[in-house]
């Protein structure tokens, strides 16, 4: 389980995350929802140890994040492809293989085919959709317990998006805990187990989607409307 315990983060004088707490369980898909600038990306980066926090604690399966976790515990797919433009797709895969012990080459090859990516293409020449798929591949092919995704659907064409969404119904996420942020909730509402609604750096509601549907007959979007536009 990924636990955020009263986490506070400031950029200079601006407090982006205020005393924020929530959990994301393993083998579940949790979605962080909030308007732009609500701190969702920052939150994921903080969990991943890419930016420091000023208060509170972040624990992954009980321990604070440490560099030994990057291999087998947690992987991050940022909102842009973070590979140098001159590298080819093949190079990127080789790069991951060289540095990570738990790189699953078979799965990478399979995903390469599934996403129809050409190994010889340079990163600089990939379309937005292709870059997003490669980005996702780099995270999925690591055998980690948890996967963080920052806006995996943002600015992607419809068909690429459908392909990416289908990943969430597959065994690729089955045994993992997935924590993602997105604006396009309509496309994936039926896929997520839990939604955490953020506003101005705080968690204002945390809902289990099927429960809300069963008990109150409301969709996640309905709840969002209640919360953000009362």
């Amino acid at each position: 389980m990924i636990e955020l315990d009263r986490v506070t983060k400031k950029y200079g004088r601006k407090t982006v995350l205020k005393d924020l707490s929530f959990t994301a369980e393993k083998e579940e898909i949790t979605c962080l929802i909030g308007v732009n600038g609500a701190g969702k990306s920052t939150l994921l980066k903080a969990i991943m140890g890419l930016t420091p926090i000023q208060g509170g604690q972040i624990r992954i399966d009980g321990e604070p994040i440490g560099r030994h976790m990057y291999d087998d515990k947690i992987a991050f797919v940022p909102d842009t492809l973070t590979m140098p433009p001159f590298m080819t797709v093949e190079n990127c895969l080789r790069f991951m293989r060289d540095f990570y012990d738990r790189w699953n080459g078979e799965r990478a090859a399979h995903l390469l085919q599934f996403f129809k990516l050409n190994p010889a293409d340079r990163v600089a020449s990939l379309s937005k959709g292709q870059a997003a798929k490669l980005n996702l591949l780099l995270g999925l092919a690591l055998d980690t317990d948890y996967l963080l995704l920052d806006e995996p659907f943002s600015g992607i064409d419809l068909f690429s998006r459908e392909q990416i969404i289908s990943v969430f119904s597959s065994e690729l996420v089955e045994d993992r805990g997935v924590l993602m942020t997105t604006h396009e909730i309509e496309d994936i509402e039926h896929l997520i187990d839990k939604a955490v609604l953020l506003d101005q750096g705080r968690v204002i509601r945390s809902i289990r989607c099927e429960e809300i549907r069963e008990r109150e007959g409301k969709s996640v979007i309905d709840v969002m409307r209640e919360v953000y536009q009362p």
Binding site: P78, T82, F99
Partner: protein
Amino acid sequence: MKRYLHLVIMELHRFWKIYAALAALTVLSQTAGLWWSIRTLMKRVHWEMELTNLSSYAEFANQYGRISFMSAVSIKEPFFTGSVAVCVTALLLYVFLIWYRDWYGKNTFIYRLLMLPGSRLNLFWAKLTTILLLSWGLVALQIVLFPPLMAMYRHMVPEELALDTSVFSFVRHHPVFDLLMPPHAADFLLHYWLGITGVAVVFTAILMERSFRLKGLAAGALYALVSGLLIIGPVSFEHVLYPSEIFGLTVALSVLLFVLSVWISGMLLKRKISV
């Protein structure tokens, strides 16, 4: 160790195009420069000989002295040491860019680097090693270049006028080359040790800026300044201290600064760095 090596290879690979350009520049510039230099020189010699009615090169040599390799080189000086200046500037710039390109490149590669398993200090060591190897590569190129250049000199300058100099002697007496590739092992090691320390200090300042932005920039600049003073400091006491004491102090302070820089950088990378 394996990760460190992979990083070094990757860093070297990303720079190879510019590096090849620098190498090509050096070779072409120095060859062409020397050729042009000697031609100009010989023209002047002939002109002078006509003017003063000298009939042989030997007479010229008697009157005006021989023409050393050093003077042959310096006629069109910018072409010779100019190429060295360009290379040095490029590498000095790269000391900064080797970090900043990871943040400001089109695809912020720094995310990927910081998420690699293993110690984040590997990034520091790999970049430091890269700068060192790049420098030594150019030095090696220069060393390899001198013999052919000297051969060209001996070919173009008549025997009676030429002065036999060794590469060793030329380098020793040339201020720029004596600094960058001193012919004595001890000097070479000292110069490059101080260079490495300097790079480590700059890296630390960069990481301070990347961790704390404006405040970090100020802190980093201050750190670099103080370090610089500490390194140069002992030398300025040449009237008060013996040379061996100056040497000892310089080495001791630089070791201290190096260790301190590595320690601070490690801590920043682990806990304070922010994308």
